[in-house]
Point group: C2
Chain length 414, copies 2
Amino acid sequence: MTERIHAKYWLETGTDPRAAADAIAGEQSSGTFVALPGETRELKERSGARVERLEILGQTYKPSLPGGMRSNFYTQCELELSWPIENMGPSLPNLMSTIAGNLFELRQVSGLRLTGLRLPPSFAAAYPGPAFGIEGTRRMAGVEHGPIIGTIIKPSVGLAPEATAEHVRELVAGGIDFIKDDELQGDGPHCPFDERVRAVMRVVNEHAERTGKKVMVAFNLTGELDQMRRRHDLVLEEGGTCVMAVLNSVGLVGLHELRRHSQLPIHAHRAGWGYLSRSPHLGWDYAPWQQIWRLLGADHLHVNGLANKFSESDESVIAAARAVLSPVMPEAPLPAMPVFSSGQTGLQAAPTFAAIRCTDLIHTAGGGIFGHPGGIAAGVDAMRQAWIAAMEGVPLERHAKHHPALQDALRFWK
Amino acid sequence: MTERIHAKYWLETGTDPRAAADAIAGEQSSGTFVALPGETRELKERSGARVERLEILGQTYKPSLPGGMRSNFYTQCELELSWPIENMGPSLPNLMSTIAGNLFELRQVSGLRLTGLRLPPSFAAAYPGPAFGIEGTRRMAGVEHGPIIGTIIKPSVGLAPEATAEHVRELVAGGIDFIKDDELQGDGPHCPFDERVRAVMRVVNEHAERTGKKVMVAFNLTGELDQMRRRHDLVLEEGGTCVMAVLNSVGLVGLHELRRHSQLPIHAHRAGWGYLSRSPHLGWDYAPWQQIWRLLGADHLHVNGLANKFSESDESVIAAARAVLSPVMPEAPLPAMPVFSSGQTGLQAAPTFAAIRCTDLIHTAGGGIFGHPGGIAAGVDAMRQAWIAAMEGVPLERHAKHHPALQDALRFWK
């Protein structure tokens, strides 16, 4: 039996849902708007997309998106389609054109969102997946158990390399596990990549020699392919242990090539995710999206954070984190590490742990650490204690009684 | 004076528009949600994004997108921001993270759409732009004047290489200028790329030898980088004159690398454009989006078509086509050719010509050609005659009196 690709959608349509489902299936495989002489029954049987499931969820009187066909009411449904792998082969770029191609623009559609994806094993044979994942990241960061506590260099842009390194000096002295560049910081003339890496790694290496702990720094090497390769090599040469790329900025081919070249974990940033997801009636859920990047080789994937400063709900953040922690497919789990960020403090430790029941994650905090009256070391300690309390199921206030740094943190975390 | 990047947005916000504009500017440059000790006045002056313009357009009582801050009303405005190029250098991937990064998710935002982009000349120095553009495409296709009349191979997927070539045989015999693979057709086992190219080019080359006219075929080589390079080389070797890539499937780095390698015009497909644009309150206008791909090297860019079968309005199609025909910047026009498709017939010739006042375009029709009772040659002739009528400002019916193929076409075009 041929392997098939399954994709799930939330669909809203002004026409008969079955007709809409058939139109989408046709448009994204052997059909088009008109009957084709060459589209024989045999060809359609072999190459046509199949409507596997169509479940009516409800109706609305106003279309969620404009431009579609007019109707007195619009039916919302869950749709599952499948395609034979023979249509595109195990190719992620061609998969993209198929599952997320011209279908969002159809007139039959007044809302369409890709909510799920089930790929056959041949994709795992064709793509490498994360080279480091959870286990490799823990090894490289020297954090055997518990969450990896991290932070982001701020101001995002504007600091010169030496000022960045001075900032890093305080952070590593404070006992942090992980530091990342802001996604806006690339290789601008005010803070050239090479100088930044050299200045920062001098600090990180000195600290490692003294203490045995090499802090993982995710240097944002986002750029054109040659630049990314060259920057990766410099990070490696300077003893760095992580590189970062903005997925929507480099694209599928960019990440694939970076993965082929890289000898370091790839910290994958999702900047731009908002334009793919902020309308509930259009675009992508995180679950199918992150599968593609994990197959390509992302080791860490951003999932926002609980009680974040953005517009994303906790429910959506939890779903994203669980997706990153779930196997891409039973035959190839390809584990990656979720990265929680945005307005994070130790207050999010317990609800995050409750939601995902593990600590295989990077938890980054800015103000939640820097704001500590006892300084950065106390801020980092408070974050760790909050996680210990979460893992042990002890309320923060009680745990804080024996941990003064946490006690102080509870006065400014909010 | 430093070069600056200017981006325009349609913004809807539940807070004071000036505060929202400042928040976006801050988040996308040196600031963040909290005051930073390192963000000095001098640093902000140098690296902060600037609110260049903020014009109130109106108000609404319901937020267009969910998840933002609650308010009694939401203000809609036009916002222009600018950044110093020193923040990211002339790098398109890093530009993406800046102009279309984390801003769509801000709580201050209940609607945000990127509507315009003005880049400084250093981007044109850093990127090659289209290698062929309008003039090179005309030369390669052997179409000196008027539109390039094209079609798409259908069924999209499912035909074997020999069946595809037989289809192409009819098309070239019918006098077509341009043929493209469907964006769903890549390199699947039912229609391997190499076999398809060899079979199709045999037909195209035979025809060229006999008639002197080499029809341009855009072979969809979308895939991973090595695959694209290898496929490009095969097309070139077989005497082909065009390759096609799906932009959203290969990403920025993918197109950049293809352009560096390619010796043929790049036909750029926008499959997936719907998820970037279908909500009027989110995502991208075509004008800024296509600029990025032209800098990278797209020679042809899809713009849908007038009276199309999708949900896009004629107004939006015209704006897209005009954008593709406008200079990327005064210092570097980087001309590319718009491709009109979807439910096209000769009936769209006159309104298309009226809208863009030129014929530097590819006009693809499927049913509008195949449906002709006189066969493909008559269908192609009718398309050409419709364009001649449009250029001469003669009503179709009058022109048809002396052109029987057009006369017959007018009976089935609708």
